[in-house]
């Protein structure tokens, strides 16, 4: 109980920091939003217009007042109005969230499963031919920059072969039921493949080295000594090797969320990454702030999940932080 209370306390602090940072960053930046949105009256914009703009984006009054209204809006779920699209940021983000989840979720799941399988297969017999070939294969794939993979896949499969649509997550025309699902699936293949290939490496490397270190453990030797067959022995090694992997694939989630920006741009996929990117390019500060706070919360949630899940997997941590036995 105590442990959980402490963890939640810590995370509350972090959330508070993220919220403050989100408020402060644009105001600290040189040539911040105010100059951009509402340049000092110089003829093109009148004093009245300037006031109006400032009011619209909650930029009037002292910094303290601004912070108060920022917090009020935040608590009410109001993230302001997007400049680019002239509608509430919440709405703009809402349109994209599901697509992002679909893309990143698919990639995380596939790359974790594949990475763990390959990593365990390679690490079980370190230095064997199988290990060497899997290792060099995955490292080579991992080295490919996301945009390069994306461009090449796009080029080969969409442009040259015409197997998959070039862009978008769903076609504009109305479709019903199954056809729609199929269409979404078809458009998901290339971006998700790109993202999976990019995310594969980190999971693989951790899975492999975890497996390597477990195969050297005495309990694996004991499993063999007590007469288990190779399948049984592997089961022991796998259970333990999964512990470090779980952390990495959770952390990998947020890395992929970031990389998705690139992939979404290449494939013109309507996710949050490309939205953030668009916000950056068009200097849509309210939208940018909205995206930033969302990503920050995702990162924090992932961490929290890791902190809460890990003890369930490892009995040694479960016992209220009992320290390792020496002697």
């Amino acid at each position: 109980m105590n442990r959980y209370a402490r963890i939640f306390g810590q995370y509350l602090l972090v959330v508070a920091a993220a919220v403050v940072l989100n408020f402060a960053l644009p105001r600290l930046a040189p040539g911040g939003p105010i100059e951009y949105l509402a340049p000092p009256a110089d003829g093109t914009v009148s004093e009245v217009e300037r006031e109006e703009i400032l009011a619209r984006y909650d930029l009037e009054g002292s910094t303290g007042d601004q912070f108060v209204s920022y917090m009020e809006n935040l608590v009410n779920g109001d993230l302001g109005t997007s400049i680019r699209e002239s509608r509430p940021v919440v709405e703009v983000i809402g349109d994209r969230v599901l697509w992002s989840l679909l893309l990143v979720g698919t990639a995380v799941i596939v790359s974790s499963v594949l990475g763990v399988m390959l990593g365990f297969a390679a690490g079980w017999r370190r230095g064997s031919r199988r290990d060497a070939s899997i290792l060099s294969g995955v490292l080579a794939v991992d080295a490919l920059p996301a945009f390069f993979v994306g461009l090449m896949l796009l080029l080969v499969f969409s442009v040259k072969l015409g197997w998959f649509p070039v862009y978008g997550a769903v076609s504009a025309e109305e479709m019903d039921g199954f056809a729609r699902v199929l269409d979404i699936g078809r458009r998901l293949v290339l971006p998700a493949t790109t993202l999976t290939l990019v995310g594969l490496g980190s999971v693989f490397v951790v899975a492999r080295s975890a497996m390597i270190s477990e195969t050297g453990e005495d309990y694996v030797f004991m499993a063999r000594a007590k007469g288990l067959d190779e399948k049984g022995v592997r089961r022991h090694a796998r259970r333990n090797a999964l512990l470090p992997v779980s952390t990495v694939s959770l952390l990998g989630f947020s890395t992929l969320v970031g990389t998705a920006t690139i992939v979404e741009t290449v494939f013109s996929y309507p996710g949050l990454g490309s939205l953030g990117f668009a916000a950056v390019r068009s200097r849509d500060y309210p939208l940018l702030q909205g995206v930033f706070i969302l990503f920050a919360l995702v990162a924090i949630a992932v961490n929290l999940a890791n902190d809460l899940l890990y003890p369930l997997l490892d009995p040694r941590v479960r016992q209220a932080g009992s320290s390792e036995n020496d002697s």
Binding site: F148, I212, S213, G216, M222
Partner: protein, 604 residues
């Protein structure tokens, strides 16, 4: 490969004649002698972009990686060394930094703070330091508990000295691999940002080239071949190169003492075991057994016979080959170990002639073992009952197996309410009891116990030995017990063999061997046994050290340390010959000098 890339970056002005950022030809020109890779949509030379781009890409990567590694290392040292709340706070920050979708963060920050190369580098450092910090810190935590670090502290060394000489020194390989990895990530992210059009607007990098390619619709024309592929391939090669360098450093950092036998001993050199009639009174009959370890002979033609109903003790110092012998018989030699010759009969079955699979089917059923290092033999993620049940399931269905596992655990003295415990919740003695329960779960014929009490205190040792003796009687086990501890073996074994440098040098009934040791080594061992009775006397050490197994001489391996060595001892090696005995058990000694005295006794 990497050198070529660096060379191109340095010599960019020499090897490309066109400016990278100004039009020098027609747009969309195909490769020609003038423009090696053609031009882009604005007529800029792509070859020039490639070699000039290498500069910025590499510079940003290197600077960011170096700074990030330095910062990460410092954080790791401070957090790992200070521990406590400093550690907790720093690691929380590290975890969060790690879980930030950093590409997004960089995009956001770049939009606030500008998009120059310097800003990008600073931002990169801001996210890249966390990974090395986390990894190095866990190493620092481990190192802090290492003997030599504590020793330095206890000798009064200053903290900076300990950190630099004892901690940092040992982190170097890991540090390098982390540096290389950071460089790779830095290059990737930097070009990713540039690809999105947020790179330094004043300079050329590979990412910007690709950005223009993506926006200039290269994909839809044939221009992609010389526009997209070259920088993409260059980037990939750079990252692959870095990844492999990183891998090399990682292997250095963690040479991973090769795992316990993923490849059971190869049995290629199988010479015919002599068909000596089998003696039915023997539980285990090992003949002329030899084991090699990475081309070094560690067990040299050992004969050993465990008589039914008697406990057999095998004594030797570490490195004498006693454990290799046992593991060889069991088919559990680690990588590099291999049985070279000989036979090991359990009843009428030569274990050496069984295939790998059939031998593994014997283990845990007819043939059981209590391996060394009992403290870590149990799977930390499984309850002890489940682990014992894994053993009983080898011969019974699930339900019976569970009942029997419960009974076994109770039999070895673990009360029922602890059966759901995980290994770390048990004391060393209790863990050893669980291992024993697993070993005897299926009523094996023979139990090989390799150093079953090492690491336990004397009282627990005594309890474990008593338990083994009870189980021996109850389950009519035959036991081969292996230890470096002569007094311990003397107390439990009926028969004894003493190994030195891969050979048995004396064997016989324990009482006889201890009363009248014939080999000089045995004599010295017996003399060195500390005693609690009689007048206090100084311990008599054996001079010198055991020989290095890779440096074998022709003569007796004990000759250099032997007080009664003669010239012939260093010329020919004595073999294990029968020696006069009193009881029913045969005796044997391998010594030239003792042979003579025995012969003399006979003549008189």
């Amino acid at each position: 490969m990497l050198l070529t890339l660096f060379g191109a970056a340095v010599l960019a002005d020499v090897i490309s004649s066109h400016p990278p950022d100004k039009a020098s030809g027609l747009p969309y020109a195909r490769p020609s002698s003038e423009h090696w890779l053609g031009t882009d949509d604005l007529g800029r030379d792509l070859w020039a972009q490639l070699v000039h781009g290498a500069r910025l890409t590499l510079a940003v990567g290197l600077v960011a990686a170096i700074s990030a590694t330095i910062i990460g290392t410092m954080v790791a040292l401070i957090a790992g060394w200070r521990g406590g709340w400093v550690d907790a706070v720093l690691m929380r920050i590290v975890d969060l930094t790690l879980s930030i979708p950093f590409l997004v963060l960089i995009l956001v920050l770049a939009s606030y703070f500008g998009r120059g190369a310097i800003v990008t580098t600073v931002l990169l450092v801001g996210v890249l330091w966390a990974r090395p910090a986390r990894l190095l810190r866990s190493q620092v935590l481990k190192l802090r508990e290492f003997g030599h670090v504590i020793a330095a502290d206890a000798m009064g060394a200053s903290h900076p000295r300990i950190l630099v000489r004892h901690v940092l020194h040992r982190l170097v390989p890991l540090l390098l691999s982390q540096f290389v990895r950071a460089a790779a990530v830095a290059v990737l992210v930097q070009s990713g940002v540039a690809f999105l059009g947020l790179g330094d607007p004043d300079r050329v990098s590979w990412g910007t080239t690709l950005f223009f390619a993506n926006n200039g619709s290269a994909v839809l024309t044939d221009a992609w071949l010389w526009w997209i592929v070259p920088p993409g391939v260059a980037l990939t090669l750079l990252i692959v190169g870095l990844a492999f360098i990183g891998l090399v450093f990682e292997e250095i950092a963690d040479p991973g003492i090769t795992s316990h036998g993923w490849r059971p001993a190869v049995r290629r050199v199988l010479e015919d075991a002599e068909d000596v009639p089998r003696d039915p009174s023997l539980a285990l009959d090992i003949r002329n057994f030899s084991v090699d370890y990475d081309m070094t002979r560690v067990v040299r033609g050992v004969d050993l016979a465990v008589t039914r109903g008697r406990v057999f003790g095998l004594v030797g110092e570490s490195g004498s080959g006693k454990s290799s012998l046992a593991l060889g018989v069991l088919g559990l030699l680690p990588t590099g170990g291999r049985v070279i010759g000989g036979a090991a009969f359990l009843d009428d079955v030569d274990l050496r002639r069984l295939g790998r699979v059939r031998l593994s089917k014997m283990r845990g059923r007819e043939l059981a073992v209590i391996p060394q290092a009992a403290m870590s033999l149990l799977d930390p993620t499984m309850t002890i009952l489940r682990q014992v049940q894994e053993s009983t399931e080898l011969t019974a269905d699930k339900r019976t197996a569970k009942t029997r596992a419960t009974e076994m655990l109770e039999r070895v003295g673990i009360p029922r309410n602890r059966h759901g415990s995980f290994p770390h919740e048990l004391s060393g003695g209790q863990r050893q009891r669980v291992v024993i329960a697993m070993a005897v779960a299926n009523q094996p014929k023979l139990l090989i116990a390799d150093e079953p009490t090492t690491g336990l205190d004397v009282i627990t040792q005594q309890e474990i030995l008593a338990l083994l003796e009870e189980l021996r009687v109850e389950l009519s086990l035959d036991i081969l017990i292996i230890s470096h501890d002569l007094p311990l073996i003397a107390a439990v074994a009926d028969d004894i063999s003493i190994m030195y440098a891969g050979q048995v040098i004396e064997s016989g009934a324990t009482a006889e061997v201890l009363a009248t040791p014939r080999h000089p080594y045995t004599r010295l061992l017996v003399a060195a046994m500390p005693s609690l009775d009689g007048p206090p006397r100084a311990a008599e050490p054996i001079p010198g050290d055991a020989p290095d197994p890779s440096e074998r001489t022709n003569g007796c391996s004990f000759a250099p340390r032997c007080p009664s060595a003669e010239p012939r001892c260093s010329e020919t090696a004595p073999t294990l010959e029968p020696s006069p005995n009193q009881g029913s058990q045969p005796r044997a000694v391998a010594c030239h000098v003792t042979d003579d005295s025995v012969v003399e006794v006979r003549i008189r």
